[in-house]
Each structure stands twice: as C-alpha cells, then as structure tokens.
Chain length 153, copies 2
DNA sequence: CCTCTGTTTGACTTTCTTTGACTTTAACTA
DNA sequence: TAGTTAAAGTCAAAGAAAGTCAAACAGAGG
C-alpha cells in the first residue's frame, strides 16, 4: 500500500494543510531527490492525485528558479460546486455549460459580467476545435474557471 | 521563485511606483553590480519583463554618462484594446495571453477576479486539444472574452 | 499463468535564465 | 580632431529547471 506516489501525495497535502493560503510551491527536482525517486514521478503524482477534477490548480515554470505551484480549492467545503463538477465531468455541451454558469450567477457566486466572460469562453465559436473533443475542452475550461472563482472569493 | 530576473523586475517596478512621473532612470552597470549579476542580465530583464507588449517604453543612451530610461505607457483605453485585438490575431501562445490579461487588469479594464477567470480559461491545462491548434483556440477564447468585457462595461 | 491496472524510471524535449565575448555609441581629453 | 574611456547592446552558448512519453515493472484477480 505504501508506494512512493501515495507518500508524496500525503506529503504535499500536509504542506497544503500548513499553508495559510491553501497553496504551496515546490521544486520538482528537490522533492524528487528528497524522496529518492525520479523527477517525473512528481509529474505522475500531480496528474493522478492533484488533477483539476479533484479541485487542484497546478501551475509551473521552467528554467532557472523554476517551480511548481499547487493550489487547492476545498471542494468538500462546498457541496454545491462539487455537484456541478461531477455534472460537468470531462465533457459538456454548450447548452449545459450555459445553464451551469447561469446557476452560478443566480446563486450570487459570480457577477453578471463574470457570467458573460465565462459564457464567451465556452461558446462554440471560441472553442473551434475539431468535432469530437470540443466538449472535452469546454469541460476543462469551465471547471478551470470555476476553480479560479473559488480561489478568489 | 528566486531567480535574479524576478528580483530585479520587482526592484524596478518599485522604483516606478515611487517615481512621480511614471518613469525612472537606471544605470545598467550600477544595477548589475548592485545585484551581482552580469550587465547583460539587465537587458534580459528589460526585454522579457518591460517590453512594449507589457506596456513599457525603454530608451537608452550609450557612452559616458549613459543610462536607461524606463517609462510606463499611458494609452487611452479604447485604442489600447483595439491594438491588443490586432496583436492576438488568430493565434497566441500562453505567455502572451497572460501578458495581455495582465495589462487589461492594470488598466483597470478587468477586476482581479476576472483576470483569474480569464487566465484559467486560456491556460494550457484547460485547452487540452491534442492537435496543433491550441494557440488558435486560445486566441478565439481570449478575443471572445474581451468582447464580452466590452459589451458589459 | 495471464491480463489488466496502476506505478516507476529514464531518455529526450522544451522553456527560461545566466553569462561572457564582442560590438556600438557617446563623451571627454590631449 | 583623434584617441581613449565609459557606457549600453547583441547574440549565442551553457545551465537550470520542468514536461513528455513510452517502456519496464508490480500486484491483484480471474
């Protein structure tokens, strides 16, 4: 049961616990050498345990002084948004997306202008990617924006 | 995190903050020796952080008593956004997108939260199109969102 | 024993930073 | 005015991160 990935996952989550602002910065190589694993192991942990669907935002910078920033939205805290996330899943059509954004507005979670910005982002005209993946891309964008809203309440 | 470029960037921005007329003069070699880096490092910071794209104008004079003058552009809002549209065109990479959004924020056109929402929408993690159209999709999304902002001033 | 799923690794790629050797321009001085 | 010196500019190479991807590996269930 104790594979390295799980241990690293717990470690990062503890860092997040301790962090005042629910976000933490790590250095990939540093962490990897601390746990005596390969650097790409860190990427594996991030993609499998700290995905957007689980309420995490991961950003990074390469080059000298580069780092990885992990931020958390406590989805558990808000059952409502959690439900919406599940509803979105990894694919959503335009109509449903608009409905969800409207709900967020009605609940007073986002302003009118923010609603319009989000609608613009998920419109079919914006997401001009080929056929099948449109709804996947839309789902990612929408969830990502929702996380941003929640991190900036 | 702690690369010299970022530190110098912050330093210069603080100088600009303090300056009464939104412009400041530095001496390249002096600054370089203050930060114990090579002089050309200063040029690197200027080109990557104080480019015109980011709303800065940099002028300099060589030779004895030479110096570098950094000023912040103050362009009228409407013309500005128009220019950004042209700059985006039908394809834009992530870095440039972030810069443009930052500018919109600095100009007071969008709020901090709107900035985060827009950043989320154009992040590489959101736009996971497997094809080579990422930058096209990003351009469309960004322009759409900017239009939405404009319609809802 | 085989397959399926999740983990681990390493080679290779991409991005961003830092440095240094060389160039250009301006001012000063004899 | 020519020569010297004191700036800043350029560019490419080296360095320092993080990212990707496919292959090897491990363990559980059938």
């Amino acid at each position: 049961m104790s594979n390295i990935s799980d241990i690293i996952e717990v470690f990062i989550k503890e860092l997040l616990e301790d962090a005042s602002n629910q976000s933490v910065e790590i250095q990939r190589n540093e962490l990897a050498s601390y746990f005596k694993c390969s650097p790409s192991q860190i990427n594996y942990v991030l993609t499998t345990r700290f995905s957007m669907d689980r309420g995490f935002i991961v950003e990074s910078r390469r080059g000298g002084g580069g780092c990885i920033k992990i931020a958390q939205m406590d989805i558990e805290k808000d059952r409502y948004v959690e439900g919406l996330f599940i509803e979105i899943g990894n694919s959503i059509n335009h109509l449903k997306g608009v409905q969800i954004i409207e709900l967020l507005h009605q609940k007073g979670i986002i302003s009118g202008r923010e609603k319009e910005i989000m609608n613009a982002a998920i419109s079919d005209r914006s997401i001009q990617s080929p056929f099948d993946i449109k709804n996947e891309v839309r789902a990612n964008i929408l969830k990502s924006m929702m996380l941003a809203v929640y991190r900036n309440e």
